[in-house]
């Protein structure tokens, strides 16, 4: 396949107005970020809180407007406001998102089948039987049985709800699926099931993944490329394996070394991060004075 970028982000910037010391100023959440993702590939956006990684997800799906820069999905600019319902639906079938919390992203009064059918109808012209068949197909793809498909969210566990959220996102047959910390709230044994499921879905559908995560092990399992963000900026980019195995930037190294593992010594990490910590505390102090 030719190397076509399905997602291309150029010079992305997002600021929010804040008041600091009684003065109105702009807080820069995303600062001149550029990256691209090839069709069928996968990119991780890695960072800690305040790095701007989730803001990028919101900008990509259109939940926030960009301040400056360009987002191209399959070559089409998405920074302008969509004109009309059709254009909005088209965007919906380009990019879908699965959020972190499986407990708040579903309508508690809607059965799983109804939620999936609604999403299928919205993005297709299928007849009633065809919709039902497609819903069944989606439920099977994410491993939900008939009883679970007829249930409301309250009767489902966290892992099952996240399967529903994934199926609903896939109902639009998106080109790009954004996974915003989608496995972060799950138990270890369930997380492994969902990670395997996501790998299977990519194989079956060729969908492109954009994973927003703080968890480097999850990033390694699911993505080919990665960018590391800090305070709105990209500090390192490359293939996921090289970023994790041979990080070039001190911050990336510190992120990696902070992950508990056999022989992990928090004291050493703390010491090594001392300079960076002092730096952090200066920033935190400024923030708290605001």
């Amino acid at each position: 396949m030719a190397d076509t970028a399905i997602v291309e982000v150029i010079g992305l910037r997002k600021t929010y107005p804040v008041t600091q010391d009684g003065q109105r100023t702009d807080f820069v959440a995303v600062d001149d970020v550029s990256f691209s993702v090839q069709q069928g590939s996968s990119l991780a956006i890695v960072g800690e809180s305040g790095s701007g990684k989730s803001t990028i997800a919101k900008l990509l799906v259109g939940l926030e407007r960009v301040t400056a820069g360009t987002i191209l999905i399959d070559g089409v600019d998405r920074t302008a406001k969509p004109r009309g319902a059709r254009a909005r639906r088209q965007r919906g079938s380009d990019v879908q998102i699965v959020f972190q919390d499986p407990y708040t992203s579903l309508d508690r009064r809607q059965t799983v089948e109804a939620a999936l059918a609604e999403a299928v109808r919205l993005h297709s012209n299928l007849g009633r039987d065809q919709v039902a068949r497609r819903v069944k197909e989606l439920a099977e793809m994410v491993g939900l049985d008939q009883r679970q498909a007829e249930a409301r969210p309250i009767a489902l566990s966290g892992g099952q709800r996240q399967r529903v959220a994934i199926a609903r996102a896939l109902a639009a047959e998106p080109r790009v699926l954004i996974l915003d910390e989608s496995v972060a709230a799950l138990d270890v044994s369930i997380q492994a099931q969902i990670l395997n499921l996501l790998a299977d879905i990519r194989e079956a559908t060729g969908v492109t993944y954009l994973l927003i995560s703080h968890d480097l092990a999850v990033v390694r399992q699911l993505t080919r490329d990665a960018i590391v963000m800090r305070r709105g900026q990209v500090v390192e980019a490359g293939s996921t394996v090289s970023v994790l195995d041979h990080p070039q930037e001190a911050y990336t190294r510190r992120l990696r070394d902070s992950v508990p593992r056999p022989g992990w010594d928090p004291h050493q990490i703390s010491r090594e991060g001392a300079i960076a910590t002092a730096d952090d505390q200066n920033t935190a102090t400024k923030e708290s004075d605001r």
């Binding site: 800690e48 809180s49 138990d187 270890v188 902070s258 992950v259 010594d265 928090p266």
Partner: protein, 334 residues
């Protein structure tokens, strides 16, 4: 080693839909003075409930059987002045979300010194000095200024340090830390764990460390116990958990976790989902998800038996030991 805390046959039931349902079943362990014990498990395993039972913070309607003994006192029978003393000088708790456990409309300094001033008659000035010293010890710059601030003015990592300082201020002998770093960034987690570890060692405080993260528990605790469906499944020295698991559940947990340094084709996921105690089948609670289960495993709940390096609730351990496929090389020395 003389044990500071002894939990013996602790069973807790809670009212669910009019019926008393078990949440903890026959939990037994000891914790020595100055020792750190990790309590690891997934949702519903009962790890937090164990800490709550020890802190005498169980929800209304909870019924306990068994014994919790703290420095010779029977914790479950404490009341009045005895319970107050236990809670002020015996145990301190640190919770996952610091914002949920601090009063948002009171200054950090008032929060820190309240117990000292009202319960122990320490003068406000002296209490302030002690609080400032401890804030300094947990790595907070300019503590006097922080003490004049409100919780919303501090970041999550900063606030969790305040909570650690608050817990240590009363000089407790035991800290019950319930996922104290789960809501923090990884780099902050390392810093907070280092501080907690240092202060704990310097002061000889015991710690019960509750987490879902096996690696984190193994890194900071002398021993780790793994819980499932309200039962202790195994307990042993933390260093051996990875290489020589004593229960198939522990081995499965280690293998299900993605690895930061190795890319796996597929993860060895555990089928099904974690069960709560009241959902568990008769026999071994992990049986339905266990790759090594055989019909006899479903007959009765296997007892927690002593083995050379710890304790295990797997009846097939003698045959399985060393073959449960731990991740790290060189596993299986039995």
């Amino acid at each position: 080693m003389s044990a500071l805390l002894e939990v013996d046959g602790l069973t807790v039931t809670l009212p669910v839909a009019g019926l008393q349902q078990p949440v903890l079943r026959d939990i037994s362990f000891t914790l020595g003075q100055g020792e750190a014990l990790g309590l690891v498990g997934e949702s519903g395993s009962g790890k937090s409930m164990t800490a709550r039972a020890i802190g005498r913070l169980l929800p209304p309607g909870a019924q306990c059987e068994g014994r919790i003994s703290f420095d010779g006192d029977s914790v479950l029978e404490l009341d009045g002045a005895g319970l107050r003393t236990y809670r002020t000088h015996g145990v301190a708790m640190i919770f996952q979300d610091p914002r949920a456990s601090i009063n948002p409309v009171r200054r950090v300094g008032d929060f820190l010194t309240e117990a000292l001033v009202t319960n122990e008659g320490v003068k406000q000035d002296d209490a302030n000095t002690r609080a400032a010293e401890l804030l300094d010890a947990v790595g907070i710059d300019d503590p006097r200024r922080r003490m004049r601030q409100y919780p919303h003015q501090l970041s999550g990592g900063m606030l969790q340090r305040v909570m650690i300082a608050a817990a240590l201020l009363i000089n407790p002998r035991l800290i019950l830390a319930d996922e104290p770093t789960t809501a923090l960034d990884v780099t902050t987690q390392a810093e907070v764990m280092a501080i907690l570890d240092t202060l704990r060692r310097e002061r000889g405080v015991s710690m019960l460390f509750i987490t879902h993260d096996l690696e984190l528990a193994a890194a900071v605790c002398d021993r780790t116990a793994v819980m499932y469906a309200g039962l202790l499944m195994e307990e042993q020295r933390s260093l051996k958990l990875d290489s020589d698991p004593l229960h198939p559940y522990t081995a499965a947990l280690v293998q299900a976790r993605p690895d930061i340094s190795v890319t796996h084709e597929r993860l060895l996921a555990i089928p099904g989902r974690p069960l709560s105690a009241f959902e568990a089948p008769p026999g071994c609670a992990f049986g339905p998800r266990c790759p090594h289960a055989e019909p006899a495993c479903a007959q009765a709940v296997p007892p927690l038996l002593d083995v050379d390096t710890g304790r295990s609730r797997c009846r097939r351990l003698p045959e399985l030991r060393g073959t449960m496929g731990a991740k790290s090389a060189g596993a299986g020395n039995g």
